[in-house]
Symmetry: C2
Subunit: 609 residues, 2 copies
């Protein structure tokens, strides 16, 4: 099964790349762009930066201490995409592996001397994930061999003792390798890494132990905290361990941490991480739009975690967060050209970028960057886009649940359906049965869809003519089911209400007080102002129903706003003053994931009202 | 003249420690505490941390690359305080100076190999400032000799070329040494350092050249940006160079940068610096209360700059900002015990501190720390508190201007007065003439004081009995003057309106929308909640006149508020909901500078209304 996550038990079972095929459409197009452009783009940069050369023994070694992991993430992307460049790249990596399985271009000769920052186990984690992807899409080869040797080395070296890595990811990688091979020591090693953490297992650092989740044991933690990618990679591994060992207490602990984090530490886009200084969560309700860090990789980690929780519990809320995060974070992280990226994804930008020789390495102010010194995000996007079908639907017994609506074909046991939709631009979803079959079909009705309807349209036939018309019934958020048996040509039509809506923040979110945002379907919208004209700092929006415009196949919106902030004296605090009336303008809102494709610009999701 | 800043020209002339003496009172008490407790506390820690040992040649060298400067700041504090520990400490420093005047415990042997981060010229700057303080309070000795040799070394090494230091301070130090000695090459060296900057003079760094103000020449900059302490130390040196060379264009450039910075990048407390990651200014109107960095040292640098601009221009707005900054930042940076400090000074704290073994090294959550790995703030407080009288008043011809009201005696030419006041708790200020004399007396009426009155009460005498009573006249913000001649016993009484007032933010400050703060006189107030009980995240304040309470000689306030944030679903964004009504409480507000003296606590200056 070509699937990044394959639990041996759980309420739902995943459907992988062999069961779900994307057709041209919102995600199918992006997946194709990823395969055709982004993967090669990443490889070119990794060659140019010398990070691949490190494996060839080129000296001086180049890149950060974790740069090996970028090649592994790329190899994972290549594995899911069945990309022809994989074997040669894997061979280069293989040459650098030492006799006992050790493999790291930075620390060879000074192994395991810095668990806090060394990232050796982190690099193995990504290598093993690449190996698992290859095993499941192709079968054994040089890459899987290297990954298994590394995993065996890790088990030998770390099964006993108290050590772990400053950056989690090895945990979920080892569980998946156990699932792929049946070798139990990988699961046991992962379990030990999880249980060691927080005892504590690592030295203290200036950011504090919470940075790498070594402040309290994972069972006792109340909320995700510290470095977001670390926190969510760890939690993903914890879910994997909990599921495979049947540890309900451990699973519940993560569910409860997820709940508080989503309720108090998550931005409207699904982005997580409020602080730049340590790429970390803020305190509860510390959700500044302008300084939101919202690392692209953190959103990928969030999808990985919620997907695991969805499979384990069948609770649709996890799929809702995955949808929000895919449309508003993953799709935002990469430009429409497939070769430039955001690293941080704030919800407000006050100053347009000033690129240097056309390149904007900071990836701020409306211009993505082709690469970064720490270039986790492009490679992480590449591997996620390449494995995207695995998130679209899941199996429940002999039935299927369609979680994300995008043109696709889904097959499972005696069910084969084609999904057709213009989602997220339209709310009409057609699920057509391709072959006679059986099994319940469930469609996720998103939490925002309060007046959705479902129609079951059996194929007409001479012996069973249609009655007065299909039965249309209202369906609420959650899953809407239709039971089989099925005849080829049967259709289910889901109609989701695609009205733009104003959304307000919980009043405890201090940074958003007095503002509202516009959403439409799963999409968060933003005002984008090329060269800050009109100036977004001066606007006040009117909360009227937004007007829709179709632009390049996408839906843009327009709201009424006044511009003009009144006079500013020399000191910006004083008596309550009258607002300068200001000119009325029609303010154009674009889907957040489409911002930053028109040159240096300012942007804001939350509009003062 | 015992004065940290002695310009050779300017609208006002400074009055130093020999002209102004503080008596017991708000600032006099703090100055005494500084001399008796803080200075020794700093020396103990610098000994314990090995930073003094570095000068003795103890190895391995300890502390950060700029730790020498802490000893110099402390020596400056000792010089102003005429502290008996100075000579011995200066002797230790002197032993480490090399034959050609070079002196740095970190870079000896690898001189001037890292201008971006090496801090060598920065360290000299503080050494020279200490030397100038000693020259002006005591005369030549070992410390002044070391400082002058270092300055001569700098002039020899850097007069030609394009180099400068990643951290400014040498500029203002050299100008002051020129002022103290008359040696013109020090001024010329300072001028060249100023003019080199931004050409650029330094290499690029990940934070960008704006971090150390090397992005554009100082004459072309529009606003202060980058690392705040660097920006303001540089600007102070620029003013000094402009004043001594008569460069009006240069002075105007800084004035205009100050204006935009104060109007758009300054917190209500006078604090500057919105970002933690690089201790920098944010963009215009990026003023988050919770993540405000507002380094204590930045506020000291702000006072240094505004004081220079005040002397150069006589514009009272600079004194207004100094007052705001002294009462709400300098007084906040050190606890009432004189031995614990805040490094960052946010305007909102959501989580009470969890100290480790009684110490809270992060200095967050309502607990100051006795020391820091980067311990600029304690030493900077020490030298500023020790030279505080220099900021209290200034001379204009044969007259004086009293800028800050605190019990004190001020003498200048034929004027000698005693100031008596309970300010900032009361608004009554009495200035009593001590000896017959002449000269205009001006009192600053702060910008917030809209209905102040001034009474001139001549001493009664047999030949000039008082008429029906003193004449009381209204005075507005700015200076209120009374002309001489004076007889001993004459009195001026200024009455400032000390009503608590609600203050609102400019609506472009996104992070403060929908909130208001309470000020009274020069003091910003905050809600402080020990152990977060009541929970400050849930409150809504009512904008009614606050009720005053006297507590330990200070004025605390009480406002009506409701507590209760309503139900929070699993997702904090949605339709506009009714606020949970919540219980009514009386919310106690304390002066911001007094918060964090009662144990772990939450705090907020800006109250949702």
């Amino acid at each position: 099964m070509a699937n990044p996550v394959l639990p041996s038990s759980g309420v739902l079972s995943p459907l992988g790349l062999d069961a779900v095929r994307l057709s041209p459409g919102f995600w199918g197009d992006r997946m194709a762009l990823n395969r055709e452009v982004t993967i090669a783009h990443c490889q070119e940069w990794e060659e140019k930066e010398g990070w691949i050369g490190n494996f060839r023994g080129e000296r001086p070694r180049r890149g950060r201490e974790f740069s090996d992991s970028e090649i592994y993430k790329l190899l994972e992307a290549m594995a899911w995409a069945d990309h022809p460049a994989l074997p040669a790249l894997a061979e280069i990596v293989a040459q650098a592996q030492e006799g006992d399985g050790y493999l790291n271009t930075r620390w060879t000769g000074s192994r395991y001397t810095d668990f806090e920052w060394g990232h050796e186990l982190y690099c193995y984690g990504h290598l093993i994930q690449a190996g698992v992807a290859r095993l499941r899409t192709h079968g054994e080869d040089r890459l899987t061999e290297v990954a298994i040797r590394a995993a065996d080395h890790v088990c030998r070296r770390f099964m006993d003792g108290t050590q772990t890595c400053g950056h989690p990811v090895i945990e979920m990688a080892l569980v998946e390798l156990y699932r792929a091979t049946g070798t139990e020591r990988y699961l046991e090693m992962a379990r030990r890494f999880v249980e060691r953490r927080g005892l504590p297992a690592l030295g203290d650092i200036p950011f504090g132990r919470g940075y790498f989740q070594d402040d309290v044991p994972v069972r006792q933690a109340q909320v995700f905290r510290g470095h977001v990618v670390r926190a969510l990679y760890l939690a993903s591994g914890v879910v994997d361990v909990a599921v495979e060992t049947g540890d309900q207490e451990l699973l519940k602990a993560v569910e409860s941490q997820w709940e508080r984090t989503v309720a108090r530490r998550t931005h409207l886009t699904g982005g997580m991480g409020s602080r730049h200084i340590d790429e970390s969560y803020g305190d509860d309700y510390e959700l500044p739009p302008d300084r939101a860090y919202n690392e692209t990789c953190a959103s990928i980690a969030s999808v990985m975690l919620s997907h695991r929780l969805l499979l384990a519990t069948g609770d649709v809320r996890y799929a809702d967060l995955v949808e929000r995060t895919l449309y508003n974070m993953l799709a935002t992280g990469v430009a429409l050209d497939g070769r430039s990226f955001f690293y941080a994804n704030p919800l407000q930008v006050r100053v347009p970028a000033v690129p240097l020789n056309g390149v904007n390495h900071a990836a701020e102010g409306g211009l993505r960057s082709p690469w970064f010194d720490v270039s986790c995000c492009p490679n992480n996007i590449a591997r996620t886009m390449a494995s995207l079908p695995a998130y679209v639907a899941a199996a429940a017994g002999d039935g299927i649940l369609v979680h994300h609506f995008t043109p696709s074909e889904i097959r499972h046991e005696r069910l084969a359906v084609r999904v057709e939709t213009g989602y997220p631009w339209t709310g009409s979803v057609s699920v057509r049965v391709l072959e006679d079959g059986e099994g319940r079909i469930g469609l996720r009705v998103p939490a925002w869809a309060s007046d959705a309807t479902l129609a079951h349209v059996p194929v007409s036939s001479p012996d069973a003519p249609l009655p007065d018309g299909p039965v249309i019934r209202p369906v609420g958020p959650g899953y809407a089911y239709v039971d089989g048996p099925w005849r080829a040509g049967d259709e289910i039509r889901l109609e989701l209400p695609m009205r733009a809506r104003w959304t307000y923040p919980d009043r405890r979110i201090d940074a958003l007080r007095g503002s509202a945002a516009v959403e439409r379907g799963p999409l968060v919208y933003c005002a984008e102002s090329v060269a800050d004209e009109p100036p977004l700092g001066d606007l006040t929006a009117r909360v009227d129903p937004p007007v829709e415009h179709e632009v390049d196949g996408a839906v843009e919106l327009e709201v009424a706003a006044s511009l003009g902030a009144g006079a500013n004296g020399g000191w910006p605090y004083g008596e309550a003053g009258a607002h300068g009336g200001g000119a009325d303008v029609g303010l154009r809102l674009v889907p957040y994931h489409r911002w930053g494709n028109r040159g240096p610009a300012t942007m804001r999701v939350w509009l003062p009202i």
